[in-house]
Symmetry: C2
Subunit: 453 residues, 2 copies
């Protein structure tokens, strides 16, 4: 046991597996796959091109099928489900926790959903329907209604006897919830307090009633924030009347945090999370071309600015050589400011109360960096084209564009957020559109005024 | 109790706090601040400009000082420590867990470190020194040596008696570790098994010996991966001889995952994590100007390519108007491929075994998207400049640049990784340098051949 985790486990397994697959020896592949945790199998399946993916999927222990399905992206999930007949799917999903099942259910074929619902007992069916009634990415959808509750007026030994009778507790149970007769949450009791206190102690004395609970309408992002701020392993979910509806556990929170980070990284490049390494060509094309089209519009906007200065460009061709520098470095400066703002907004650290101070700070940074970079570019431009005036023009244009970068980097994410557009996703296009337009306009405009005079 | 989590808690508190601060009424500020968890206070302090930050820091309950210090970034931490005298610092940090103290200790003034070490008992001092002997971002540095162990040959009731005697367990204790006489890890027993089984059951029967443990040299990233793949709340850390050294808990893992995501987002814009919203101007300038300089080099490279075609540009000024489009959209396409690859590499899903298949897939996507976008741009260019040959040139140049984007988007992150450079940080500069150079070269080169012929 206790196998130490070595470097890049998945990559190594992937190589071994790939070799075994290529050689056609499925025995070793099966053994290799079934030493893995379901999440690791999911990761592995995502890394395989469709042909090999099906072969490996067929070798996974049917007992793990459900958990693996929970741990893969939507697109890979679809391809795996397409390989299973209805009976296999039902067998795979019927033992899943309610929250996992709720996550899966919408990807299942309708006929299978009916069968799954029929195979559940009434209590679980009602719980599933309740969870599904909440919007995606809300605490209600993320929660598991399977919760262990106790009353405040009993002693520890009564609770322990009840728990022994009940047998296994839900995964990640670190607290029992104390409720009143109307199932309203009164507080929680740590499992370890049950163990470390005398069996005669009444639950009353152990209740921690300072906990904050999660409201069923809270967003996934708020849930993640609360968990990481409070170092929770699990937390209760309640409705407006403080009635206990379920609990959310830290393993799901880790998934949320990973997905949010991924959503930001992919969104900033105009990809949706559904696109994976081996998405079908058609899907990849469709997913990406929209974003390219949006960027194309801003590129045409920038080009139309250049188009206003054709006469100038005809006379001083050096401008055409240098103009991408002004736009490009300005864009980099803007993305730096934007990135700080996006982080600040995500952490709730930026608001109306400090936006002005931030803007002022960024303008000063922009003036200094713009002057430094402007001077450097001016010197290089002089060495290249031997025109003092041209050097002056490009240096000035850079200072102006750095200020435009700071202004748009601070203000546009705030505006996007107010318009309910995620600045992490749309921010880069917008601010670089500003610095492109401003960069070309300032550089070619100043050149027209100063050089053609 | 059970306050439901409402929308954007921090932003609202920030506003209330800011109002109270502005009005100079410190009583309400103190009350407001001390209803928060230490992590939330840390977040709040990071959102305040230096002047207000000091005022609020002075109002924080001294009992929370240590935990707050653990939860802020390095730069804010320095500014907070600068406000405290040695006795305050020692009082703040002496009750921290060893792993948190290890995280803090390097930011403390040397004289304070000595005092802190002196105030600790010998066992804790040795533990701290052991943790500090491991490199940053390794499992050894992240672990807490405070672990509850049991022997395999006793019954549950013996363990329960021992635990009641011991009193409070370390935070996030969900398992007790079973060790032999040489303190080697044999397995673990879930706390809930102790509760739900008959007190006469021997520990032997409850041991889960299938757990994987974490090696003390494992990287923070591997630790995070293992936790999220296995849904752990805590996991044991062992050395080469399988001797139990400590444990890592899920709350630290959440911090690791957040920090990694932040590192990627900030790194991609050339910022280091230390830069926060209100970093001093000097520091912000220094931190960012290096990155701008690197980008400037690639901009000059692209400009020098344009410089080769001055004659062509003088004759056909429309080329100067359109050329940023070819470079820009090519850059977007490259960043899309890069982003997919970076995710795949981070998950261990991309390796030598599937790189070729990926490249082939991306080349086909590039051909299709390049043709679509190329045709669109060709049509617009024709409507603008009424030259069929110019339209042909720009369409062709776009197809070529999309292929360059796919090639560099797939291959460069693999090369960077092999060179031990983080592709999430350096990838964008490198691939957009390729598409800038290739875009200008293909467009102006084709124009020279076709239009000037």
């Amino acid at each position: 046991m206790a196998e130490a985790v070595r470097h890049d486990k998945t990559a190594r397994q992937l190589r071994m597996l790939s070799d075994a697959l290529d050689s056609g020896r499925l025995g070793p592949v099966r053994r290799l796959v079934n030493t893995l945790a379901p999440a690791e199998i999911g990761n592995l399946l995502e890394s395989l091109p469709p042909g090999k993916r099906e072969v490996v999927w067929g070798l996974v222990d049917p007992e793990d099928d459900g958990e693996v399905l929970v741990h893969v992206g939507d697109e890979v999930r679809e391809s795996l489900l397409a390989d299973m007949d209805p009976d296999e799917i039902i067998a795979a999903v019927e033992d899943l926790d309610i929250d996992d099942l709720a996550d899966l259910v919408e990807d299942l074929p309708d006929t299978v959903i009916d069968e799954v619902l029929k195979s559940m007992d009434r209590e679980n069916r009602e719980r599933l329907e309740q969870v599904l009634s909440y919007p995606e990415d809300s605490a209600g959808r993320l929660m598991n209604p399977d919760v262990v509750t106790v009353r405040a007026d009993v002693n520890i030994d009564v609770v322990l006897r009840y728990l022994r009778l009940r047998g296994e507790l839900p995964d990640h149970t670190d607290h029992l919830y104390v409720v009143n007769r109307r199932h309203q949450l009164i507080g929680w009791v740590a499992l370890q307090d049950l163990i470390t206190h005398d069996p005669g102690t009444p639950i009353n004395k152990l209740i921690d009633d300072e906990l904050e609970s999660l409201h069923v309408d809270a967003s996934a992002q708020q849930v993640a924030r609360q968990f990481s701020d409070n170092d929770w392993v699990s937390a209760p979910v309640v409705d407006d009347g403080n009635v206990l509806l379920g609990r959310i556990t830290v393993d799901d929170v880790i998934d949320i945090i990973r997905e949010q980070a991924e959503h930001q990284a992919l969104g900033a490049a105009g990809l949706d999370e559904e696109e994976d390494l081996f998405s079908p060509i058609k899907r990849a094309v469709r997913g990406r071309v929209v974003w390219l089209g949006i960027n194309l519009c801003t590129a045409f906007l920038a080009a139309s600015v250049i188009g206003q200065f054709e006469v100038t460009l005809e006379k001083v061709v050096a401008l055409a050589v240098l103009m991408p520098i002004v736009a490009g470095v300005g864009g980099n400066a803007a993305v730096q400011v934007l990135t700080l703002m996006v982080r600040g907004l995500a952490l709730g650290q930026v608001g109306a109360s400090n936006a002005r101070i931030l803007l002022w700070k960024e303008m000063r940074v922009a003036l200094i960096n713009g002057t430094l970079i402007g001077a450097l570019v001016g010197v290089v431009a002089f060495l290249w084209f031997h025109s003092l005036l041209l050097s002056l023009v490009i240096a000035l244009a850079l200072v102006i564009n750095f200020c435009a970068a700071a202004l748009s980097g601070v203000l546009l994410p705030l505006m996007l957020k107010r318009m309910n557009v995620d600045p992490a996703v749309a921010g880069t296009v917008v601010v670089t559109a500003v610095t492109d337009v401003m960069g070309f306009f300032a550089f070619l405009g100043l050149a027209t005024m100063i050089l053609l005079h």
